[in-house]
Symmetry: C2
Subunit: 329 residues, 2 copies
Amino acid sequence: MTPPLDRLPTFADIRDAARRIAPYATRTPLVEWAALNERVGARVLVKPETLQRTGSFKFRGAYNRIAQLDPAACPGGVVAYSSGNHAQGVAAAAALAGLPAVIVMPEDTPRMKRDNTQGYGAEVVTYDRASEDREEIARAIAEERGAVIVPPYDDPDIVAGQGTVGLEMAEDAAARGVTLDHVVSNASGGGLIAGISLAFAELSPATRVWVAEPRGFDDHARSLASGRREANEAATGSICDALLARTPGEITFAINSRRLAGGLVASDDEVRAAMAYAFSTLKLVVEPGGAVGLAALLSGRLEIESGATVGVVLSGGNVDRESFCAMIG
Amino acid sequence: MTPPLDRLPTFADIRDAARRIAPYATRTPLVEWAALNERVGARVLVKPETLQRTGSFKFRGAYNRIAQLDPAACPGGVVAYSSGNHAQGVAAAAALAGLPAVIVMPEDTPRMKRDNTQGYGAEVVTYDRASEDREEIARAIAEERGAVIVPPYDDPDIVAGQGTVGLEMAEDAAARGVTLDHVVSNASGGGLIAGISLAFAELSPATRVWVAEPRGFDDHARSLASGRREANEAATGSICDALLARTPGEITFAINSRRLAGGLVASDDEVRAAMAYAFSTLKLVVEPGGAVGLAALLSGRLEIESGATVGVVLSGGNVDRESFCAMIG
C-alpha cells in the first residue's frame, strides 16, 4: 500500500488518543430528552460535541496530532488550512502544546471564526479563494518556517482523536446498560465518522454507523454505494459550511467503506428545522453542519426497528448570532 | 411551629426525591469550559438544567411532589398557578403520574409557554392579572374538582425535589476530585437554592452557596441581610420573568436564612450579556432568569479566592426565538 494507506489508525490509537486528550478535552455527556424520544419514536441518546472545547469535536483530533509532535523538529510550529472548526481546534491545541500556529483562511471567512482563531493565539494568513490554492500556501509556509501541516481529516492521528467521540458514546451507553443499535453522525472529509466507526467496531460491533450529509453534498453516501471515492459536483451551495469537502479522504474512506452501514441525506430546510428543534427543545446551539444527523433523524430518513436505541452526534455549534437567528426563524 | 414550618425538608428527603425522579428526570451533567475558566479567573463547573426535561429544573420538584399523591385522594388531579417553568414541570409530571392537571395562567402568557403546557397534556385556565387572584382561582378549582394544589416553591417535597440539583453537583464534583468552594444559583421563591443548600450542607459543608437575583428584585439578598422576609417593591420590570416572586417563601427562607452565604445581584444588561456569552461560548440556550448566576459571575460580583472552584446553575432555557435573538443582540 502507498502512503497514507500504509498506516491506518486502529482502536488502540483511539485509546491512546483518549488518554492524551483527557486533561484538555471535555468528556461531553450523552444526553436524553423524553420529548426527542417521542418525536423520533425511538430512544435517542445525543452526543453534544457543541459543548467541546472550541465548540466542536475538532479539538480532539488536532490536540492528539499536535501533542505527538517533537517541538525540536518543528521550530515553526504548525500550519493548517481551514475556514472554521479545524482552524479553532488547531489554534487552541497548538497554544496548549506551546507551539506557534498559522491558519490559512479564505479572505471571506466570517469575522467570528477568524476572531476566535486569533483569540486562541494563532496567526491568520488569508488567501483569495478564486485565484489561490490554500494547500500550496500552507506547504510554502511550512517549508519556509520549519512547521508541520496538521491536515483536517486524512491523517491517522486526527482520525484516532475524533474516534474518542465514539469511544465515549459506546462507554457511556454501556454504563447505562444500553447498546446503541444505530449511530448517526455527519461527515465532511470523514475523519469523525471513521473514528467513530472504528470505536464501535471494537466496543459495540452490532451498532450500525450511518453517515449524514447535506443534499447535493452526499459524496460519502455515493462513494459507499459505488465502492470508490466520488466527488460532489458543487463546491458551495449548502448552508452546512463545515461539510463541503469535495470528496472523502483516502484514509477515511479506507475505513468508512468497510465500516459504515450507509448514508442519510437532509435538505437545508430540514437542517434549519433541526437547528430550530435543538434551540426550542434541546436548548442547544448547533451549527448547520452539526445538525445534519439530527435533521436526518427528525425527517425519518433512518428506518428504526421497534425498541431500538439511536445515538446521534451534534458535531459543533460555531455559528454567529445573525445566521443562527435567521436559520431558526 | 406553625405550618408550613412544622415540616422542613431534610437531606434524607432529597435522597428519596433523587430515587423517585431517577426514571424520568435527566441527570444533567457538570460541564467545564476552558474559555469560561479563563474569563472568570477560576475553575467553573456549570450545571445546565436547561437540558432538564421540560427545559428547567422545575420538573424535579413537581414530579417529586406529584408522585407521592394518592390518586384516590385527588380524583381531579393537580392544579398549579404559574406562567412559566413550574407550569410545564407540573404538566409533564402529572402526565407521567397519570393524573389530570389544570394550570392557571395569566391571559397574557407568551404563546410558547402556553402551548408547551398544553402540549404536555394539561388544561390551561386563564385569568386577568389586573382583576383576578390566581391563588383564589386555583383553590376554587381544587375544591370543585377534588384536586390538589402543587405550589411552586413553599412545599417540603418541592424543595426536596429541587435539592437533587445540589445533590448531583456535589456528587459529580466529588467524582472528579473537586470540592466546590462556591455555588451560585438564582432564586425566585427560593425552592431551588434552599434544596441546593441543604444538599451541600450534608455532602460538602465547606461549600458556600450564594443566591443570585436581578437588580431591583433582590428580596432574598435583602432578607438575608435583615433576617426577615423582605418584599420587592415592584412586581414586574425585569427581563427575568421567571424570578419575579415578591418575597421569599416561608419554608424556603427558614432554610436559606440559615444556609446561604449571601446574595449577588445582576442587572438586566448583565443578564443579556451572560445569555450572549452562553450562546457564543457555551453553545447553550439560557433564558434570562436562568442566566442571572452566570451574569453575576461574569460581572465579578463574587469575590473568588485564588485557586477556588465555583459551581453555577443555569436553571432553565425556556425562551422564545424572538426574545432570545433580541436579548443576545
